[in-house]
């Protein structure tokens, strides 16, 4: 019997273990704080740089200038020398482009995920998932090159059909198509996960009631998975709003607006930040950080709104 009883508990050892626990806990705490402070530092840096155009004087050609914030936020022309910047139309253009890209991306990605999870044979669905994961990891510059080489040609052909002369296919439509292709994998992957999570019982119940497979897929499976699908859409919107490289290659960077014509050139917040960033200094450099702040706000606000809608949709059944 002796064998099963602990002979004695070493108090020293226990204390050692408790101290060890504390040290590990503190180390973890420290690392977490470090990660969190990086975000704080970034926000602080962007905020300081981005606010300075409105409160600090910049010397351009021996005269002091600062930027009028109201004009900046509501302007319909990006830049009039030396100090008038306006991004009101750019915000509208950005939201419009992202909205269009969602119209293209949502149906095709939801249908794709439905096909992969419910209709395709196991082997095929495995291959398709690998392909979509690959798509998700392709760098944006590749999408940009694809857009400028292929999609511009398609859009140019389309605009010729409508007898509209576009700038070689560089347009709002091209931009939103490129974005749609980019966010499709994101939405598809999350939709697949959420459709897979739908309980088999619900589906069986629907089938037992006499519904066909297609009816079940659309009316039961998709409805049950809508919350997860919506989470995918939110992620997609985030990616679309934040994409810079590919967009600036096909947007054409119009100087004024807003433009809602599908075949006209457009300009987004990110492409505005990227254009000429490497070659400029002073006010023209700092103002790009102001655009960055606005972009962060736009993303935050859209996320809040989308989350609100998501909760509403989640409650409906």
């Amino acid at each position: 019997m002796d064998y099963f009883v602990r002979k004695h508990i070493n108090e020293k050892q226990i204390r050692k273990k408790i101290i060890m626990d504390k040290i590990v806990k503190n180390i973890f705490m420290f690392i977490t704080l470090l990660c969190a402070s990086v975000i704080l530092l970034i926000i602080l840096f962007i905020a300081i740089k981005g606010i300075s155009p409105f409160i600090k004087d910049y010397i351009i050609n021996d005269q002091k200038y600062r930027v009028n914030f109201y004009r900046f936020i509501s302007g319909d022309t990006w830049f009039v020398a030396p100090n008038i910047y306006g991004i009101g139309f750019i915000i509208l253009n950005t939201l419009y482009v992202v909205f269009l890209s969602l119209i293209f991306a949502i149906p095709s990605s939801v249908l794709t995920s439905l096909f992969i999870t419910k209709i395709a044979k196991k082997r095929l669905s495995y291959i398709l998932i690998v392909i979509i994961e690959l798509l998700a990891s392709i760098p944006s510059i590749v999408y940009g090159v694809f857009g400028i080489g292929i999609i511009t040609k398609l859009v140019k052909g389309l605009s010729n059909l409508f007898n509209y002369q576009s700038a070689g296919g560089i347009s709002t439509l091209t931009t939103s198509l490129v974005l749609a292709i980019m966010i499709m994998p994101t939405i598809t992957m999350l939709s697949i996960t959420s459709i897979k999570a739908v309980k088999q019982d619900i589906e069986n119940g629907s089938l037992a009631l006499g519904a066909t497979k297609t009816q079940t897929n659309f009316k039961v499976v998709l409805i049950s998975a809508k919350s997860g699908i919506f989470a995918g859409i939110i992620l997609g919107v985030g990616r679309a709003l934040g994409e810079a490289t590919a967009v600036s290659m096909v947007a054409g960077n119009a100087g004024s607006g807003p433009t809602f014509n599908l075949f006209a050139t457009t300009r987004t917040l990110t492409s505005t930040m990227l254009m000429g960033l490497k070659e400029t200094t002073g006010l023209d450099y700092d103002i790009r950080f102001s655009v960055g702040i606005i972009l962060i706000f736009v993303i935050l606000i859209t996320n809040v709104i989308l989350n609100f809608i998501k909760r509403k949709i989640g409650r409906m059944s």
Binding site: T77, W78, F79, V80, A81, P82, P107, L111, I148, G149, T152, K153, L154, V155, K156, G157, L158, S159, N160, L161, Q165, A167, G168, G169, I170, T214, Q215, F218, S248, M249, G252, N253, A254, G255, S256, A264, T265, L274, M275, G276, K278, E279, T280, T281, D284
Partner: protein, 313 residues
């Protein structure tokens, strides 16, 4: 539901098919009644600066509102080339060195063909000079000697070959010497200079050439450390001889992609020309409307005074 997805598929198919059909349509003849699409670099670009200075439309260098409002703005020579190959009715400008293999039509400027020879003999005038400026005073005499050796190197056959290989235009004269011929005049280069840092900076347009030169010259001059910090032509004078010459951003050798202003050229012998950069006006190869451009035409086109290709003629 089936109906809806069928209709959706149908729409997709018609979209793709019609778009393909549309591509074929564009192979038609050049239609002069179409609008001109202007392509431009962004306001920070040195090429843009050179172009608008060259056509006497200086208001537009930093100001997009002076341009026709439907302009397309891109970020590099390469993007202008891709876009113009897509767009029969576009017009743009690129560095002469990018013209080869671009499939675009490089237009003569004032009836002079854009070629390297014409740039060197000065008849082709849509050009800008790349200049350098060095310091007037040095804390360390060794640094001064290396800088002077570097400036001498720029004018040797070796240096000029490097410049040409990096898209600068410069003439190699029969009187030019090689580096081996003159290196004995610069005893500093035979010492070990691996602790000395030489700061290069100024114009970003010259950055490629400057980096190639310093990378090539460093092993020949005691392995000094070249440190490049290119921020713009405006800083060339400021950081070598002007207000920031003793600041943290001070430079030993700076470059400018424009001519130095009168109040910048205060110390004789501290500045000079490295090479010429030529800008060429390009259109799609199907364009039959323009065979020659001059400042007046280009200004009208870029300001939107003329809208269609017919109007130019």
């Amino acid at each position: 539901m089936k109906k809806i997805s069928f209709i959706f598929l149908l729409i997709m198919m018609t979209f793709i098919l019609t778009a393909c059909g549309g591509i074929k349509d564009t192979n038609n003849e050049f239609d002069k009644s179409k609008n001109i699409t202007i392509y431009t670099r962004d306001t920070t670009s040195g090429t843009r600066d050179g172009f608008f200075t060259g056509i006497n439309f200086k208001e537009a260098i930093k100001d997009n509102t002076k341009l026709k409002s439907t302009y397309v703005q891109v970020e590099s020579n390469g993007e202008i080339i891709t876009n113009l190959n897509n767009d029969e009715y576009g017009i743009g400008y690129i560095s002469l060195s990018s013209l080869n293999n671009s499939n675009l039509l490089g237009l003569p400027f004032n009836n002079i063909e854009p070629t390297n020879d014409n740039v060197i003999n000065g008849t082709y005038t849509l050009t800008r000079n790349f200049n350098y400026m060095i310091r007037n005073d040095y804390n360390d005499d060794k640094v001064r000697q290396i800088v002077e050796a570097f400036v001498a190197y720029i004018n040797t056959i070796d240096g000029k070959t490097t410049i040409i290989n990096n898209d600068g235009i410069v003439e190699i004269k029969s009187t030019d010497k090689t580096w081996n011929d003159i290196k004995d005049q610069y005893p500093i280069i035979s010492e070990d200079n691996s602790t000395i840092t030489i700061n290069f900076g100024g114009s970003t347009s010259v950055e490629k050439i400057a980096k190639a030169l310093s990378a090539e010259f460093s092993p020949k001059a005691g392995n000094f450390i070249p440190d490049h910090n290119h921020t713009g032509s405006g800083d060339a004078f400021k950081r070598t001889q002007g207000t920031e010459k003793d600041g943290a951003n001070m430079l030993h050798i700076a470059f400018a992609s424009r001519e130095f202003k009168a109040d910048e050229m205060i110390n004789e012998g501290t500045f000079g020309r490295i090479c010429i950069d030529a800008i060429v006006v390009v259109v799609n190869s199907k364009n039959t409307s323009l065979t020659n451009v001059n400042p007046e035409i280009l200004k009208n086109v870029y300001s939107g005074a003329v809208n269609t290709w017919e109007e130019i003629e």
